[in-house]
């Protein structure tokens, strides 16, 4: 390909000096879709976000101009693809303010990141009788890997409770910490409630008992600037697809000295420096944890997504989403028989609710007929649903492209639900 054509194909990150929601919406082609004849109102962003054209273009560019395997090729395409892949790693490093790109491991998603820590650091460091502390608001992905580890090592899982607003009870949490505590694993932001956890205080408390801290940041990174060095956590995991990137790519951040000491997760190509049948030497960080051909296009798409988010500005995104959340909260509370589940003071854009006498599943079906996409169910947080005495909730979750008009549409949709069940 000639350099000129190459440049023409190269995607440009959208530059948005002023946050205007309509301008942002124009970057997401899917938002122009109609569902059942109505404009799509996409409020299932905590499940997955839509993708801006810049991300789609980055995938098209990679597959039309750069596709090849990375790290081992000496040919031009492989060099270009490797450069793009590693550039994305550097983008993630800057995005999280990690000290070193070697601390950024590409994984499939937050779930794989957590499982990686459980099965490498966990198997090497958790002993019989040790304790792992989580919270009552965890997603199953931050419960089950630790249950598996506890089962394997004879360790115990302790659960810090939440109050009726869905906030972590810090005093109760601190009471659970002691000499047996080896790890605290907690969500930064709850996917079912929107609660923002006081991660600095959690880390400080864990440090007092020399416990390590893993944060599940899947619901945090799309909505607020995250600085892993300021938080001082040991591990931080997130999923690309919840921050406008493709599915199948995610990030595990770990402090270099911990990652260095950890055994590999999977064996295979790329994670070795030499192999003989007698002895294999593992590759250096981060490749030790990236066995096999990685999700190259996904990593490139993640880089493009973070470039996009940076171009809009996380501070501005946060401010906009807070306005929509505040408006949506006020409007929803005007609806008779509606109860919000999750009313923390520090909260991200999640509106989890139940309607008296109407099952969330029916709410979801009727809203879909109005073009409104929400999530209904237990949101992979069954213990939390039990805590609030509901089998399920309906959940509207926000992204940077949502508007106050869409909150009005949601309210009209819920009124329709109430008419059907009147």
């Amino acid at each position: 390909m000639t350099p000129a054509a190459n440049t023409a194909l190269r995607p440009q990150a959208a530059v948005q000096p002023d946050f205007g929601v309509n301008k942002v919406r124009a970057d997401f082609p899917i938002l122009a879709r109609k569902i059942h004849g109505k404009p799509l109102v996409y409020l299932d962003n905590a499940a997955t976000t839509q993708k801006p054209q810049a991300v789609v273009d980055s995938l098209i560019y990679y597959y039309t101009a750069q596709n090849s395997n990375i790290h081992r090729g000496v040919h031009t395409l492989s060099e270009e693809a490797t450069a793009s892949y590693e550039e994305s790693r550097a983008t993630v490093q800057r995005f999280l303010n990690a000290a070193d790109p070697r601390e950024i491991i590409f994984v499939r998603g937050a779930t794989e990141g957590i499982n990686l820590v459980a099965q490498t650091w966990g198997r090497a460091n958790i002993r019989s009788g040790d304790e792992i502390v989580i919270s009552a608001m965890e997603h199953h992905s931050n419960i089950v890997p630790w249950q598996i580890l506890c089962e394997q090592q004879g360790a115990n899982l302790r659960v810090a409770p939440v109050n009726d607003a869905g906030e972590l009870l810090l005093d109760e949490f601190e009471k659970l910490l002691g000499p047996k505590t080896k790890l605290v694993a907690m969500s930064h932001v709850s996917n079912a409630l929107g609660t923002v956890n006081p991660v600095r205080k959690i880390v400080e408390a864990a440090r007092r008992v020399n416990a390590r801290v893993l944060l599940d940041g899947a619901q945090a990174v799309p909505h607020m600037p995250v600085d892993v060095r300021a938080i001082d956590c040991d591990f931080y995991a997130f999923s690309g697809h919840k921050i406008y990137a493709p599915t199948g790519i995610g990030i595990l951040y770990g402090k270099a000295e911990l990652l260095e000491a950890m055994p590999p997760y999977q064996g295979g190509g790329d994670m070795i420096s030499s192999v003989t049948f007698e002895k294999t030497l593992y590759n250096r960080l981060p490749y030790k944890f990236e066995a096999g051909t990685p999700h190259v296009s996904g990593a490139i798409g993640l880089g493009a997504a973070l470039d996009y988010v940076n171009s809009v500005g996380l501070d501005r995104i946060a401010r906009h989403e807070k306005q929509v959340l505040a408006y949506g909260t006020r409007r929803l509370l005007e609806i008779p028989g509606l109860r919000l589940v999750g009313t923390a003071k520090e909260k991200e854009g999640i509106l989890s609710f139940v309607l008296e006498g109407i099952h969330p599943h029916d709410v979801g079906t009727i809203l879909d007929q109005e073009g409104i996409a929400i999530r209904t169910g237990h949101h992979c947080a069954q213990p939390l649903m039990e805590r609030f005495g509901v089998p399920a909730t309906a959940r509207a979750s926000l992204a940077l492209y949502n508007t106050v008009e869409e909150m009005d549409a949601l309210v009209r949709g819920i009124e329709k639900v109430r008419e059907v069940f009147a």
Partner: protein
């Protein structure tokens, strides 16, 4: 386009609000649970079986309007039926809610025809059949909970 009214027929809404045979059954000699982990729907179906006949049936639990109405109307439909008749009815009902009814007649389905609209909403088929799966498990004497996932 599927119309909401096709799914939420009056009779379905009515049964979901005032479910019939909604209680435990003292004389039950079979019971089974139906559980849909995806949406948290959870029902227990109680049966009193004698001489191959469903002498009495009841259910309890929680779920969406479709699953609750389906359970309620199922109890009415199979009460007094022989177990093999109930099994036959399940097959016909399943065909109706999955839209595989073709040209065959379902006159004997009676009120259960109201669930034909479910076929336009594939994700809701599990709701409509949850109690039926539990009934079947109870008839077959399976003690464990059945799941539609």
């Amino acid at each position: 386009m599927a119309e909401l009214g096709d799914l939420y027929q009056d009779i379905i809404l009515e049964h979901s609000k005032r479910p019939r045979n909604y209680r435990t059954l003292e004389a039950a000699n079979r019971k089974a649970e139906g559980f849909n982990p995806l949406c948290g729907d959870h029902f227990t179906v109680y049966l009193e079986i004698g001489d191959g006949q469903i002498r009495d049936i009841s259910f309890q639990g929680s779920g969406c309007a479709i699953s609750k109405a389906s359970a309620s109307m199922m109890t009415q439909a199979v009460k007094g039926k022989r177990t093999e008749e109930a099994e036959e009815l399940f097959q016909k009902f399943h065909h109706v809610v999955t839209g595989k009814n073709g040209t065959e007649s379902h006159d004997d389905l009676g009120k259960l025809e109201a669930f034909a609209g479910v076929s336009e909403y594939p994700v809701r088929v599990k709701c409509a059949t949850l109690a039926w799966h539990a009934l079947r498990a109870a008839l077959q004497g399976e003690a464990h909970a059945v799941s539609t996932e």
